[in-house]
């Protein structure tokens, strides 16, 4: 078990980090101070050099995304940063940890990004259910305003910077970039047709950067310790930096763990105490509900973007869900199909009708009414959804279904042949527990 000096979670557990004074004592806001003395483009270069990739799920190079904002020196044009704190991918809870324990780290990261792309307004779009995080962030934001870190002249630099918390209202699709922009603007969170991309036409028609909480929390550290330091962590120059892994399901100690990106799943499993109650690993999801399930034989896989992608899945939000051999995977996939059906925005035909149909089909199989043609039908239906939908939710929704049928087909066939679930009904609590 390699020991790793935490970066993003270094302040977790230190109560003083929740106050501005305490955060500063711990070295906070030095990154912002340094950035404000640099040329904004130089800040972008440093972030580019570090190889930081988006931690929200898409893994897009952050520095490159920032550089797409056009005409940054034009003071008459508006630009925005929207911090994606919508965290609704099943299995993901790392952003909440960061916001509740180290709010100023996020504020500092957002501020540095705003300086880099010359955006005078930042909205932190936080999911409506995160009431505690919202309260903590509101307090931290107010402290920052009172201290002049935010406001008319950030840290006396002359750079005007406003940062506002904007609460969502309960919709997973608002975690999609353009769905978030629509929701921020006061509409139904229905994703937009792309192009144009947010860097060109974003919030309120203006160029906008959208980055995940964890992505932005990395930024102060890159500024202070340098891109080279950041690159020294990880697997290769395309997969760099520290990564938070949110591990849940059938492990002894579920939680958020910070490792260099690219740690193997086996090491990760050991790090959280191994299988729950000593059970046997059957399958695991490496990156949230959209990521195709991997079998136990993939236990040594390196959990970075490219390795997991090559294995036919995705690192996504690094939400790792572990399932033991008492788990019915059909039931698991059906629950995820229900999730996607519930969360589909309903705009485009394949996702609206397809996620509905997939849930109905999986539910039928789960309840013992499956028919021999169903697996092929599921593959055909999911094949028509993927690649044809207006946004990535359609592509995400087919992940569990297709991986179930491709990798765990015998289990599906048993449900059909036996007209029911071959696994005994699982009770987790004893009578009176």
């Amino acid at each position: 078990m390699p020991s790793f000096e935490p970066v993003l979670t270094r302040n977790v557990g230190r109560k003083e980090a929740l106050t501005l004074a305490g955060y500063k004592q711990l070295g906070g806001y030095e990154g912002l101070a340094k950035a404000l003395k640099m040329d904004p483009d130089a800040v972008i270069e440093e972030v580019k050099k570090s190889g930081l990739r988006g931690r929200g799920g898409a893994g897009f190079a952050a520095g490159m995304k920032w550089s797409f904002i056009p005409d940054r020196k034009n003071k008459d044009k508006a630009r925005y940063l929207v911090c994606n704190a919508d965290e609704s991918e099943p299995g993901t809870f790392k952003d909440r940890l960061l916001m509740e324990n180290d709010p100023h780290q996020l504020i500092e990261g957002c501020a540095i990004c705003c300086w880099a792309v010359q955006a005078e307004t930042c909205y932190i779009y936080i999911r409506g259910e995160y009431t505690k995080s919202a309260a903590i962030l509101e307090q931290a934001l107010q402290e920052a305003r009172d201290a002049g870190i935010l406001g008319g002249s950030a840290m006396d630099s002359g750079f005007k910077l406003d940062m506002w918390l904007h609460r969502g209202a309960g919709a997973y699709i608002c975690g999609e970039e353009t769905g978030m922009l629509e929701s921020l603007e006061g509409k139904r969170g229905q994703p937009r047709v792309k192009p144009p991309f947010p860097a060109v036409v974003g919030a309120f028609g203006a160029p906008t950067v959208i980055n995940n909480v964890e992505t932005l929390c990395n930024v102060p550290h890159i500024l202070i310790r340098g891109a080279d330091w950041f690159k020294s962590i990880g697997t290769d120059e395309k997969n760099t930096g520290p990564k938070l892994y949110a591990i849940s399901g059938h492990v002894e100690r579920p939680g958020t763990y910070e490792y260099p990106i690219g740690i193997s799943f086996r090491e990760m499993l050991d790090g959280c105490g191994g299988m729950w109650k000593g059970g046997t690993l059957k399958a695991f999801i490496p990156g949230g509900a959209s990521a195709p399930m991997l079998p136990a034989s993939s236990i040594d896989i390196k959990m970075d973007f490219d390795t997991v992608a090559k294995a036919g899945s995705m690192l996504g939000s690094a939400a790792v869900i572990v399932m033991d051999d008492q788990t019915c995977l059909v039931r698991a996939a059906a629950r995820l199909a229900k999730f996607f059906n519930h969360e589909s925005c309903g705009q485009c035909t394949p996702c609206r009708e397809g996620t509905n149909w997939m849930e109905l089909l999986l539910s039928r199989i789960e309840h013992g009414e499956g028919r021999p043609g169903d697996p092929d039908l599921l593959m055909a239906v999911s094949g028509n959804v993927g690649g044809n939908s207006l946004c990535a939710l359609g592509d995400a929704a087919i992940g569990p279904v297709r991986s179930l049928i491709k990798t765990f087909r015998p289990e599906v066939d048993r449900h059909i042949a036996e007209h029911g679930c071959p696994f005994p009904e699982r009770r987790f609590f004893a009578e009176g527990a």
């Binding site: 139904r188 705009q347 485009c348 394949p350 996620t355």
Partner: protein, 547 residues
């Protein structure tokens, strides 16, 4: 301008043209539901997926043609690859799995987007066999307002109707509610779809989710004959298609004319043909005899009698201009006359040398029809007051005008009063006004309606409605538009130009057998506004008159 190649056909298009429009230019029809040339692009239905190659590199995913614009050279589009065909088939399947098999009872059958594309792009069997279709219980026949009924089960969630009320009508009554597979359209509880263009949402709806209350179950569309014409509800002159079955008009639909009504028309105009069916018609010429009773007569008898009366008055008094007041001849037309009919009435007035000629028209509610140039507003409740006046029905020096005749006692001073178009507005149905007009010694009424005015006439001559003849109207913006008959007039009814020409022939043989085209040509010589125009050669979108 950049060039784009679609299915091996290349065309040059303005920058920003989307691929659906570019396809139409080369005869490639890319299927679509949510796209509409006048509504915002949403790329939702995913029917227009095509393969796009840019600069030699194929894009990894199929692209929606509606939201893909041609910006520069080098775009190559294919709609006929197996991948595209499979994708479109897939989209059709998705739309049909939850769609009720309502065709036997659905108005849209025969002009249904799902039927049409299903036939062309879909499959003939269903794989959705053991699941229940999604339904919206209680929302199968919801009136959204006075004129539109919603069947939510049939909706394919293309959002055209919602975008219409937001972007064109700008009244925002319709919204898209709920999320995912439960999405539905509707109004805020308690509110109605009540804007003047409401029924346009039925036009834009590709399926039978939105139907017109007035047309529901009225006719199978494949039994309807569809003829181009104009609306006569007001002075905007929206282009319509008259859809009828053997002369029984079942509905109007707007016909696209970017210069006038674009793709739209108002609900009032849409229902304006109903008058032709509910108001009793003059079916034969009717002459009041010595005993005071009106009896049907032949056209020859009727026109002979008319000529005699006109000549009779004429002999002696009317020509001199210093005629005794009770010897006046007046011609009162309406905004429902075609330009050609009005011109012949003016010709008649010239022959009789009377300055008393006018056009009466009512003012109605304001109807505003949007188009790309700010829209057109109409306030006069008839289509052709301008045309009738330009054609010569304007009072001469010291001539009586419409007000004198309708509201004053101008008729009392008339030896003979000719009223053209017996259904002209409130006047023909108002007892007091009819009584006033009846003060003329002789009252001749031309028109299609057997109104109280026609009943009071000494001679009533039945004319064709605008659906039964050729003619032109000049709209509020001074645009002259031609229309042709949808079906012939019934029985003894005849088009106005034919009747007037026969009457005028009795004054001057050279005026016999005139066609509307010939009358228009005459007009073009006499009236500068019409100079250089010919009825049969008018552009399809009409022609602006010279100012």
């Amino acid at each position: 301008m950049p060039k784009v190649t679609i299915n091996d056909r290349t065309v040059e298009v303005p920058v920003g043209t989307n691929v659906i429009e570019a396809g139409l230019l080369v005869g490639v029809q890319i299927p679509h539901y949510c796209y509409h040339p006048r509504l915002s692009v949403v790329g939702q239905c995913r029917m227009c997926l095509v393969e796009v190659e840019m600069g030699g590199r194929k894009m990894p995913k199929l692209q929606a043609a509606c939201s893909t614009q041609v910006e520069k050279d080098g775009m190559v589009v294919r709609t006929d690859t197996p991948e595209v065909k499979e994708a479109v088939k897939g989209m059709m399947e998705f739309l049909l799995i939850n769609h009720p098999l309502d065709c036997p009872i659905c108005d849209q059958a025969g002009e249904c987007g799902l039927q049409d594309y299903s036939f062309k792009h879909g499959v003939a069997f269903s794989r959705f066999q053991f699941e229940d279709k999604r339904t919206y219980p209680g929302r199968e026949r919801i009136p959204l307002g006075a004129n539109v009924v919603l069947n939510m089960n049939r909706c394919i969630q293309c959002t055209r109707c919602v975008r219409f009320t937001n972007e064109i009508a700008k009244t925002g009554e319709l919204g898209f509610f709920n999320r995912g597979a439960r999405t539905e359209i509707g109004t805020f509880p308690g509110k109605e779809l009540s804007n003047p263009l409401a029924t346009c949402v039925v036009d834009v709806c590709p399926v039978g989710a939105l139907t017109s209350t007035r047309f529901r179950f009225a006719e199978r569309v494949f039994y309807l004959e569809k003829k181009p014409s104009l609306c006569t509800g007001c002075e905007v002159g929206c282009n319509v298609t008259i859809e009828h079955r053997r002369g029984n008009i079942k509905r109007y639909k707007p016909r696209a004319n970017p210069e006038v009504n674009d793709y739209w028309m108002c609900d009032y105009g849409r229902a304006s043909f109903e008058r032709y069916k509910t108001v009793p018609r003059l079916t034969a010429p009717r002459l009041r005899g010595e005993g005071g009773r009106s009896v049907p007569v032949s056209w020859k008898e009727a026109l002979d009698a008319a000529y005699k009366k006109l000549r009779g008055v004429d002999d002696g008094f009317a020509r001199s201009g210093s005629a005794p007041a009770e010897g006046a001849i007046a011609i009162l037309g309406s905004g429902f006359l075609t330009t050609e009919e009005a011109h012949l009435f003016a010709e008649l007035a010239d022959r009789l040398g009377t300055p008393h000629r006018a056009v009466a028209v009512d003012l109605g509610p304001e109807w505003h029809i949007p188009n790309l140039k700010g829209g057109i507003t109409g306030r006069e409740a008839a289509p052709n007051r301008r045309g009738a006046e330009l054609a010569g029905l304007v009072p001469g020096a010291s001539g009586m005008n419409a007000k004198d005749l309708l509201e004053g006692d101008g008729a009392a001073r008339c030896a003979l009063l000719v009223v053209a178009d017996s259904d002209f507005g409130k006047a023909a149905w108002d007892e007091a006004t009819v009584a006033r007009l009846r003060q003329a010694r002789t009252l001749i009424v031309f028109g299609w309606a057997d109104s109280p005015l026609a009943k009071a006439a000494d001679l009533a001559l039945p004319l064709a409605t605008h659906a039964e003849k050729t003619g032109s109207f000049v709209n509020v913006e001074g645009r002259v538009q031609r229309f042709t008959p949808a079906f012939p007039p019934p029985g003894l009814v005849r088009p106005g130009v034919e009747v007037l020409s026969e009457l005028l022939a009795r004054f001057d043989a050279s005026l016999s057998g005139l066609t509307p085209e010939e009358v228009f040509a005459h007009l073009a010589e006499d009236v500068p506004a019409f100079a250089g125009l010919a009825l049969a050669d008018l552009p399809a979108t009409g022609a602006p008159l010279h100012p």
